[in-house]
Amino acid sequence: MSMTATQAPPAAPSYLTDGFTLRSWLLTTDHKRIAILYLVSITIFFFIGGVAAALMRYNLIVPEGMIGSAETYNRLFTTHGVVMVWFFLVPAIPVTLGNFLVPLMLGARDLAFPKLNLFSWYLFVFAGLVVLYALFAGGVDTGWTFYTPLTTLYSKGHVVAAAAAIIIGGFSTIATGLNFIISIHRLRAPGMTWYKMPVFLWSLYATSVIMVLATPVLAMTLLLLAFERIFHVGVFDPAIGGDPLLFQHLFWFYSHPAVYIMILPGMGVVSEIIPAFSSKQLFGYKFVVWCSVAIAVISFLVWGHHMFVAGTSVYSALVFSILSFMVAVPSAIKVFNWIGTMHKGFIRFDAPMLYALGFIGLFTMGGLTGLFVAALAADVHLTQTYFVVAHFHYVMVGGMVSAYFAGMHFWWPKITGRIYPEMWGRAAAFIIFIGFNLTFFPQFILGYLGMPRRYHSYPADFQVLNVLSSAGASILSLGYLLPLAYLTWSLFYGKRASANPWGATGLEWQTSSPPLTENFLSVPTVTEPPYNYTPQGAVQPNV
């Protein structure tokens, strides 16, 4: 890339020092400031969802349940699911790292629609307030899946308020997706062809397509649910002429692609980090790129695998089973390419790389256990048990949250202009990896032994494994509190970061840390392929 790095203190103020009033933050249209607003909001939600999870693990220490009330427990796992899925996992990487980095990586001044970007944050916050009202004023006890007719006619909680919050949050997601798609189409710097884009942008592009196409289906489904609940229009309840399975079809038609909304950006982050810390080009760039696109397409065709025991036909089970195996293929190819990238590299083990390696391991386990529940006869035994809970936590938490932390550490110097304490970063990566496995591995065994999910109390045979899992959860929560502490510390006391502390490629590293409000002093031009790393120690050809 032709632009030279701006190492000297910039003449213009950085985006962080460009205005200190509350108004300059709350009415900003700067994508970087909006990313910070989002970062604060989703961190709050991450810890709300985390506290709910911690209380659940506390309850499950004894067979009869430490928390006396089954109703409270049901509300806890609903809170955990709703908050973590829609207010952390779905937005996490796109609205923070995505918002911050998409214009920088494109070499652009901002996203295509800066005001829409700010509006989507306000929608998100409004949705968040509504969901907090629903969860704390009355509570919802239906699980995040809202299965009918339990939700429409039998549950007493604030289901409609929760559904409204998710619909509003959905519009925020759609706005972000649109903004990314249009920015990537229209705002690429001169010379940045599609195949010169970093994989992170490709991943967010694929993610955005799913966001824009799938989220409206969720909104419609929840509207129908609210209609049935308020006006008793028979849509899903057979007692008034509806079909209970229709809800599941519609819900999973959104919610399975949504799984890929959550994981694709994580794959993008890891695809940036592995080459940077291996000082080597990404192995099989085009394969990784097209795997993201393939995942986005196939993800729309696998929803029926959530319903193998729900009363759908044998033929639909066969079709959805093979399609579910197919969607795992591009993910496997990506894993092989990341490992191929390390081959013959010059590998450094800074915290972002440790989190990224943790991602590969945990995501691979999550993916492999997905094969168990894609195989029909095995799914019949394992579905609706803790096996499924462990499987999707390996993907969503082990995979996605590790990738989120990897990216957060990698771009922290760029975002804040400060270096985080490296040893603490590495220690937290290890603690999270170990705590995670201790928490969720026992749940695979629990699931095989038949322990159902969403049980407030359980037969005494399952206690030892539950205690192990709860013990692991306490280590895991320590692991998650550490970055909160040392990253906050580094904001005030961390060393100042240079423009490109990792020696990474990508336009975002060509501007100062933290970047100027305008991002770049002059429009950068791209002439080289992405990940054009020169092997360290080798003779550099162009010097």
């Binding site: 549950s155 057979p238 291996s278 009363g311 066969l318 093979i322 010059f346």
Partner: protein
């Protein structure tokens, strides 16, 4: 404390072999992934002076190879899982029928002989059991881990599930579909008994007449006999003046509907006729059958179906 799960049906080991194959496949792939990461982390660490040599320029051969290998392995696992599913879930025709009704938050079981149980199911070992399941309210799920089976229990539908338990003993029954506050209390016990023990249990609990006999009482009490005749002979020929179809011999026979469609009169069809008569109306009779929805519980409907099933045509051809 236990780390292994009883294999109480003849088919449970087959499911376990599939799961074992999946475990082994996963272990091999995990060993490969973790092994290579560890190997490269040591061998190609930044400080390592080892000669890296030339980097591969063309990668597509490798890409095609591991894509093909993944496809082949996945396809093999799909075929194994699907074949087993199709074989195990095709019910034999000679199963002993037992009726299960789920409601918030209990399992109610009705045996053909009129025996009733709550949160328990007594069955003979070595004989195929065919469960016919429905729900009075929300979706439940009938799950028996020791049998490696589960199936959702839906309101407004009859779902079936079969198994052949071979090892006498007591096994957990769980509801595995979130059904409200008392979800975790919706558990029970499956008691698999030897043939003689089962006979003994049936006799001990057999008071109150068979399911069909109980259905006959309901048939009189709810006025079904007024139109359909005392023994289900039908309205036109029998004592009644109201034209209503004959019910004797109906079960399992083809029925022509008002819209020309031909359906088989199975449990679900008869249930619909009682609760939602307008849904699949029989041809050549006026639409005067009232709905009994809200008056009959799901168990009552099961008894009526059992009664109608027991009726055989006498005089008519």
């Amino acid at each position: 404390m236990k780390f292994w799960l009883a294999q109480a049906t003849a088919d449970a080991p087959e499911v376990d072999y599939l799961i074992l194959a999946l475990v082994l496949t996963s272990c091999v792939i995990l060993a490969l992934v973790f092994g290579l990461i560890l190997l490269y982390s040591v061998k190609y660490r930044a400080g390592s002076p080892i000669d890296r040599g030339e980097l591969a320029k063309k990668t597509w051969r490798l890409e095609i190879s591991w894509t093909a290998a993944t496809l082949v392995i996945f396809f093999g696992l799909f075929v194994w899982g699907a074949d087993l599913y199709v074989r195990l879930f095709r019910a034999p025709s000679n199963g002993l029928r037992i009726y299960v009704v789920g409601k918030q938050w209990m399992w109610k079981v009705e045996h053909e002989g009129g025996q009733r149980e709550i949160n328990a199911l007594h069955i003979p070992a070595g004989r195929p059991i065919q469960l016919v399941m429905t729900s009075e309210d929300v979706i439940h799920d009938f799950s028996v881990p020791a049998f490696r089976i589960k199936h959702d229990v839906l309101p407004g539908r009859y779902e079936s599930l079969w198994f052949n338990a071979v090892t006498p003993g007591k096994y957990h029954l769980f509801c595995t579909q979130l059904c409200g506050t008392g979800h975790a209390q919706m558990v029970g016990e499956i008691v698999v008994m030897s043939g003689p023990d089962y006979q003994h249990w049936l006799e001990q609990n057999g008071a109150g007449g068979t399911l069909a006999e109980q259905g006959q009482t309901l048939f009189m009490r709810f006025g079904c006999s007024g139109c359909h005749g005392g023994n289900g002979a039908g309205g036109r020929q029998a004592e009644s003046t109201v034209p209503a179809p004959a019910l004797a011999g109906l079960y399992g026979s083809p029925v022509t509907l008002a819209d020309g469609e031909i359906v088989t009169a199975d449990d679900a069809y008869i249930r619909d006729c009682i609760l939602i008569p307008e849904k699949r109306r029989v041809a050549s009779y006026p639409p005067i059958m009232p709905s009994f929805a809200g008056q009959l519980s799901e168990e009552d409907v099961l008894k009526l179906v059992a009664y109608i099933k027991s009726l055989t045509p006498k005089e008519q051809p």
